[in-house]
Symmetry: C2
Subunit: 338 residues, 2 copies
């Protein structure tokens, strides 16, 4: 269309563990003409998520793996540049699974959401006011069911989901404990995200420090990591505890399944629950969550941090950086002005 | 009282793993006179439970450990021999935590239940119509929430809880798969307890056989064992599966916590739940469960098997025998005629 060139980040080779820059390549193709019913979206922000590791893996997961040679699957936020569907106006701001590319030719049903909160930065539509915020909201409130005065522990507490979980738990009257890596992120948890306590899992005395701040026991553990961090938290569960399995960021490979301390006795003695979830199963929950999240942001109750890299050439190496913990806050790639 | 001699099985030394006969001793004391408000129960059946291992352990559990020198804690069924409480008539048949002994001096609030189903054998009050049946009923129906057509897998399927779980699941229209040890118990699962399939976990091809009968996936796993049996079942969970943690019979010691394949990825990808419970938390559920269970027994839908040893001298070695799998069905010690 109008000689537009579409830069696309495609999967060149399948990663065996954490996806690296050289698993991808950037190619260019012309944007085709729209046919009846199609909509052309100009992507402005590309999202980078820990979950992308799973989307690229052929090991059992909740979605089909991105095919070799395919455009990398990703949430994006952008603007409707042209439309041959009367229901989708040119100029609308939208999010969807539009991939790591400049332009996406889609149909109306591909659009996840028309963004109505234009008083807030567009980038929030991919983070705190996007799938990360909704994930935190659903997992904590629907599965965790926090009650005032309970203690909530969150792993990857300085991350886009974890920081949101901590702040929502605080809004619900809970005591919040964040687990994160390094002193910078630990300070961020305390100073920006208002955790009552924060513990650095990389510190030599991690288990002792965790035991100190968990002396009253843990009622809810929102788990984004699995691994030794979770093993340590599990020993502090209170009776009736809820463990929300949202991600497994600390495990480099699930093939073969790594060993860890068995959880059955904790679950039995503490009458505790572990529950996994995938937010895409719960679209009926999105609108209510967007409403809450937008209100909390506007009222100053929900702080967020973004790590925005400019230029599509940053995309291929962006997942590996996440797993190294390079970023502070939600990682995004800006590929155009909004 | 009237020169009655009370034989009692007392804890002589604390077991480090599975309780053995020489951890106990049998002593004799006279039965004291009743004072106002007391009730004297003549125990007829003593119960033997896998959970007794935990009741004897000082490692974190859901009840205080039996003290050294104390009478072994146990459910019993017996008859009120004398009463100085007008609310408890002489001759009533009762159950309670009256211990491994001939006689128990108790108060009305110690009585767990007055047995009303005297058309059924007294022994059932400690098994299928007692805590085992109620445990199966609560765990399967309240936590498992079985739906018609779902597949339910049970470990220790020929045991007193497991056999009851399988039959209740069948009554609810589920396909039932039992896991048990040895060909005799496997046949029992199929022939007496009506499982649709039964697999011997001691057989060399256990994992392959399990995979065959679980080809359609597992919706509910009622887990009485933990360990390698559970590890094998976890790989077959269906989306939305519920794993009910009722016991950990296959684990000889939890100190230190043994290693096993991590469960987080199964729970996440399958949106599955693991939930531990202890039946003593749910007394409000008992009466409804007794009603259902008695009706199903009378209608011939709920078969049960008992392993009754006669004489209190069998009690000390009875727990070790359970863990060796010596028994077929609910193990009881009869110490008097009813």
């Amino acid at each position: 269309m109008n000689n537009l060139i579409n830069r696309q980040v495609r999967l060149r080779s399948r990663p065996s563990a954490i996806p690296q820059a050289d698993n991808f390549e950037i190619t260019e193709v012309p944007v085709p003409e729209l046919v009846e019913g199609q909509v052309l979206v100009r992507n402005v922000f590309l999202s980078v998520e820990p979950a992308m590791r799973g989307w690229l893996s052929t090991v059992g997961n909740y979605s089909e793996p991105v095919p070799l040679g395919g455009v990398m699957r990703s949430f994006t936020a952008g603007r409707v540049l042209a439309s041959r569907d009367p229901a989708v106006p040119v100029g609308a701001w939208v999010t969807g699974m539009f991939g790591w590319q400049d332009y996406a030719l889609v149909v109306a049903s591909d659009i996840q959401r028309q963004i109505v909160e234009r008083d807030l930065p567009l980038s929030t539509a991919l983070g705190v006011l996007g799938i990360n915020g909704v994930t935190a909201h659903y997992g904590l409130l629907q599965i965790g069911r926090p009650r005032e005065g309970e203690t909530v522990v969150v792993s990857t507490a300085a991350g886009s989901v974890g920081s949101c979980v901590g702040q929502i738990a605080k809004l619900k009257g809970c005591r919040t404990i964040g687990i994160t890596g390094g002193e910078t992120k630990r300070r961020l948890c305390l100073d920006q995200f208002g955790f009552d306590a924060a513990v650095d899992y990389k510190a030599a005395d991690f288990e002792n420090r965790l035991a100190e701040v968990c002396a009253g026991g843990v009622d809810i553990y929102y788990d984004n990591t699995a691994g030794p961090i979770s093993d340590a938290v599990m020993t502090h569960l209170n009776r009736g505890a809820r463990v929300i399995i949202c991600g497994t960021a600390s495990i480099a490979s699930w093939d073969p399944i790594p060993l860890g301390p068995r959880v059955e006795r904790h679950l039995l003695v503490k009458r505790a629950q572990m529950q996994g979830f995938v937010i895409f199963d719960h679209p009926e929950h999105y609108e209510g969550a967007y409403r809450d999240l937008a209100q909390w942001i506007r009222e100053g109750h929900l702080s967020y941090l973004e790590d925005i890299q400019v230029g599509i050439e940053h995309a291929p190496g962006a997942i590996a950086g996440l797993y190294r913990g390079d970023n502070l806050g939600k990682r995004l790639i800006r590929i155009a002005e909004d």
